[in-house]
């Protein structure tokens, strides 16, 4: 099935469930040139003969599995974005997929609009923003990511799926805190320079979650953050905004204040370019 526009991006749908494969192919063919493959071997043959922009890949394929297929794909650029589809959302599978350069990950079943959104976002994103997996043990995940805010959504979704078994309130708090500190590290520490890296570790112990985020910047001093909401009197939540105006920076400065309210411990190293937060689980 093909879109009529020869300039449209090309997608390979790899799915052994015929009904789902046809539904996805029809849906995506409205905007893209779409080919399909019913198993890993057929997919590999297609990938060796055609340069696709994106592969929508089921992990549970007969014969050559989706993860095996990922391992056989060339690593050099340009390589297709890989969006993984699976009913198996265990941390081990998720981590193997990310280590194999999966761009995003969607858990079955999913509504059609979701897959369209993910495909469009993946195709629009900067392909150079790769996540490097340093440790892929479910109890110790460590990543190196480029300093681009574009990566924040992907990374938050990925990290939150690792904690999918936790109560929703805990996941929400951890998700907010992680995202805030990650964005701070990328924007203030890494100066939005995608050539610089933020190092992230997520440790899962029986009674607590520990996240550590290290940025490549010089750090800061808490006392120097007069333009942050953390220094406001309780009844004057916008006092810091006037300080920011005097300094010529836009309103904002809510991130650290927000994080402090959502986690149990927030610790910085001496230079303040590394931060650890802890969320206790009982």
């Amino acid at each position: 099935m093909k879109a009529s526009d020869p300039t449209a991006k090309s997608i390979l749908v790899v799915e052994d469930d015929r009904g789902l494969r046809l539904a996805l192919t029809r849906l995506l063919a409205e905007d893209f040139n779409v080919d399909e493959a019913a198993d890993g071997t057929e997919a590999l043959a297609r990938l060796q003969s055609h340069a696709y922009d994106l592969v929508l890949l089921d992990l549970g394929l007969p014969g050559l599995s989706g993860l095996d297929l990922l391992a056989q794909l060339p690593t050099e650029s340009p390589s297709p974005r890989i969006v993984v589809m699976t009913a198996d959302d265990t941390p081990a599978t998720l981590l193997r997929a990310v280590r194999s350069r999966a761009w995003d990950y969607i858990v079955k079943p999913f509504p059609p609009a979701t897959i369209t959104d993910i495909v469009k976002k993946a195709l629009a994103a900067d392909g150079s923003l790769a996540i490097e997996v340093l440790s892929a043990r479910p109890e110790w995940v460590e990543l190196l990511v480029p300093c681009s805010l574009e990566i924040a959504d992907r990374l938050q979704g990925f990290m939150m799926r690792l904690d999918a078994d936790l109560p929703e309130a805990v996941r929400e708090s951890v998700g907010y805190a992680f995202r805030e500190l990650l964005c701070n590290a990328i924007e203030w520490g890494g100066k939005l320079d995608a050539n610089r890296k933020v190092r992230i570790a997520c440790l899962r112990a029986r009674r607590m979650l520990v996240y550590r985020i290290a940025d490549p910047g010089k750090g800061f001093t808490m006392d120097g953050l007069t333009h942050s909401a953390i220094h406001n009197a309780p009844d004057r939540p916008l006092d810091h905004v006037a300080v920011r105006e005097d300094m010529g920076i836009r309103a904002g400065g809510f991130g650290i204040f927000m994080v402090r309210s959502m986690v149990d411990e927030l610790l910085y190293n001496e230079a303040h370019n590394e931060v650890v937060f802890v969320k206790y689980l009982d």
Partner: protein
């Protein structure tokens, strides 16, 4: 992300269609709210029905909009605010700055009587 703009009773209603998180969506919404605030709108209604989550970037957008229209004696009123967003507003103590109303009709009635 799209931000629908609709005028009712002489007041502009902004309706973002996604969560307001830093890294793109919050910044897009911030550009829209600052543009309309700068164009002289006094009272802005922000319908958050489609905003499941908001972070400090989204809050920054709302606060910047508030700061801009308040200089002209106006305000930003939020409607259809879910539990997640209310929680963040409360944590940041911004629920004392940004009024929350249950419906657009209620805001319009209040502004008409002001």
């Amino acid at each position: 992300m799209q931000v629908r703009q609709e005028t009712r009773g002489g007041h502009l209603i902004l309706t973002p269609d996604d969560s307001l998180m830093c890294g793109g969506r919050a910044e897009q919404f911030e550009a829209v709210i600052m543009e309309v605030a700068g164009a002289g709108q006094r009272h802005l209604i922000v319908d958050l029905a489609s905003v499941a989550h908001i972070d400090s970037g989204g809050m920054r957008a709302l606060v910047r909009g508030h700061m801009s229209v308040s200089k002209q004696g106006g305000r930003v009123t939020l409607v259809n605010v879910n539990g997640n967003v209310r929680r963040v507003l409360h944590i940041l103590r911004l629920d004392t700055v940004l009024p929350v109303c249950e419906s657009i009709d209620a805001v319009l009635t209040g502004l008409a009587g002001a």
